[in-house]
């Protein structure tokens, strides 16, 4: 009986079998001071999941939180490029969320801020901090910023692209650079308009190379999924604590 239940669970939740790892994302929606106007929030979850399934990674979006701060609806990301660092406003947002909502570095759930605009630019769609390679620019902070402009134009791959930056991928490294690759820069990358065009299907867009897949597993934010045997053990342990129904003699 218990084996049947276990089997049913495994069949019901394919991620137990199909994914080797997962990434937790903590969505944070930024609103005005009154909480009446908020940045749009959508995870394009089907797209994000299909893209990262190429690497055997499940993207797990946790329950969302809100920040009420009008000034942070249009966040300064890099208003002072001369110092080569993330702007103080972006740093303040990350620090606030780490202290009050979710400490990305402690929980390994990456804070993802949904805002109206980045640097007041309609063509600035996202930024991802957290990988050692960007430590200097990101001032050792971790966080993803997403402009809700991506929802107006259905730019389905931006969220997956920024996750890639956080876990160590660049625009030109590990085989990126072609129009089909997920990590190619925004101006040169072809953007999928349907799930059917995401690699390995259709036009093969948002593709990840073997080298990219190998690299992302070096990131601490890519957490290992317990193996099926471990799941079985966990479920068996849980089963021991389920009170048995008393039967009449």
């Amino acid at each position: 009986m218990k084996l049947t239940i276990t089997l049913l669970l495994l069949l019901s939740f394919p991620f137990l079998r199909a994914h080797a790892a997962f990434i937790d994302i903590k969505p944070i929606q930024v609103c005005d001071d009154a909480g009446t106007t908020c940045a749009g929030m959508n995870f394009f979850e089907n797209f994000t999941d299909k893209i990262w399934a190429q690497a055997g990674i499940d993207i797990n979006f946790l329950s969302s939180a809100q920040i009420l701060e009008t000034d942070w609806l249009d966040v300064d990301i890099d208003s002072n490029p001369a110092n080569g660092e993330l702007d103080n406003e972006a740093i303040a947002m990350i620090d606030y969320a780490d202290a009050n909502i979710n400490d990305s570095n402690a929980t390994l759930a990456i804070n993802m801020f949904f805002v109206d605009l980045l640097d007041s630019s309609a063509g600035f769609f996202g930024l991802g901090c957290g990988a050692p390679i960007y430590a200097a620019f990101c001032v050792n902070r971790t966080g993803i910023f997403i402009s809700d402009n991506i929802f107006d134009i259905n730019r389905y791959d931006t969220i997956a692209h920024e996750i890639g930056h956080v876990i160590g991928l660049t625009h030109g490294g590990f085989g990126a650079g072609g129009a089909e690759n997920l990590m190619t820069s925004g101006g040169s990358r072809s953007v999928p308009t349907s799930l059917n065009d995401i690699s390995p299907d259709g036009l093969g867009l948002s593709n990840l190379t073997d080298a990219q897949i190998a690299e992302v597993y070096n990131s601490r934010f890519v957490q290992e999924m317990p193996e099926p045997a471990t799941w079985l053990l966990m479920m068996a342990m849980t089963a021991l604590f389920i009170p048995k129904r008393r039967t009449a003699c």
Partner: protein
């Protein structure tokens, strides 16, 4: 001793003292190296900023196109939510022929206005297969033809994969669209084939090799 408070003065000083010259050059070289290092550092930071982002360069807020004879002027505005186009007739003073909001978020990648006031828009600004690959407006601003990238692939009898693989501009265009010699059609290449968009009818056609040579 020489104080290097300006490399122009140091380098171009006409002193006959060889030792002083050597010191000057050494100081100058140190300054140059320091500047180069600083520039490289800034470039590195700049590269990092761009490397961690998803950014596209959006078109200018206002773009203008003129018909071959100069009679018509097409103005494309990138507004907050949707782009808009206006056509001006310069024949009898300046008249606004028509004006309309279009489906493109940032506007088309290429635009043309004919000497009869018809307009052809090609592609969106975004790198993707689109429902707004080619849009043709008549002289009153009515849409007389609209094609998606898939429609174009079908016209060319090409697979979507081939269209994408051969693209050099955005996700599906192979060569920059131009007016043909008569300025009655717009010509560009897609999936290795020359494609013609008739300005008056909005019809698409594949140009044969002989026609291409004749053009």
């Amino acid at each position: 001793m020489v104080v290097d408070d300006g490399h122009d003065r140091v380098v171009y000083s006409k002193t006959q003292n060889g030792l002083l010259n050597a010191i000057c050059i050494e100081t100058y070289m140190k300054t140059v190296v320091a500047h180069v290092m600083w520039a490289l550092l800034m470039l590195l930071f700049a590269a990092q900023v761009h490397a961690a982002t998803d950014i596209i360069a959006v078109p200018d807020p206002v773009r203008e196109y003129v018909s071959p004879s100069g009679q018509y002027r097409l103005v494309i505005r990138r507004n907050e939510t949707r782009a808009s186009i206006s056509v001006f007739n310069y024949q009898d003073g300046v008249n606004v022929s028509w004006s309309s909001e279009i489906a493109h978020r940032f506007g088309p990648r290429f635009a043309f206005v004919s000497d009869n006031g018809q307009v052809i828009l090609v592609d969106e600004w975004l790198n993707r297969f689109t429902d707004h690959a080619v849009t043709v407006f008549d002289s009153s601003g009515k849409v007389i033809a609209s094609y998606s990238t898939d429609d174009i692939a079908q016209t060319l009898s090409a697979t979507r994969q081939h269209v994408h693989k051969t693209a050099t501009i955005g996700a599906w265009i192979q060569s920059q669209p131009v007016f043909d010699q008569s300025a009655h059609a717009v010509l560009f290449k897609c999936a290795d084939k020359p494609l013609l968009v008739d300005v008056a009818t909005g019809l698409l056609s594949v140009v044969t090799e002989a026609e291409e040579i004749a053009r």
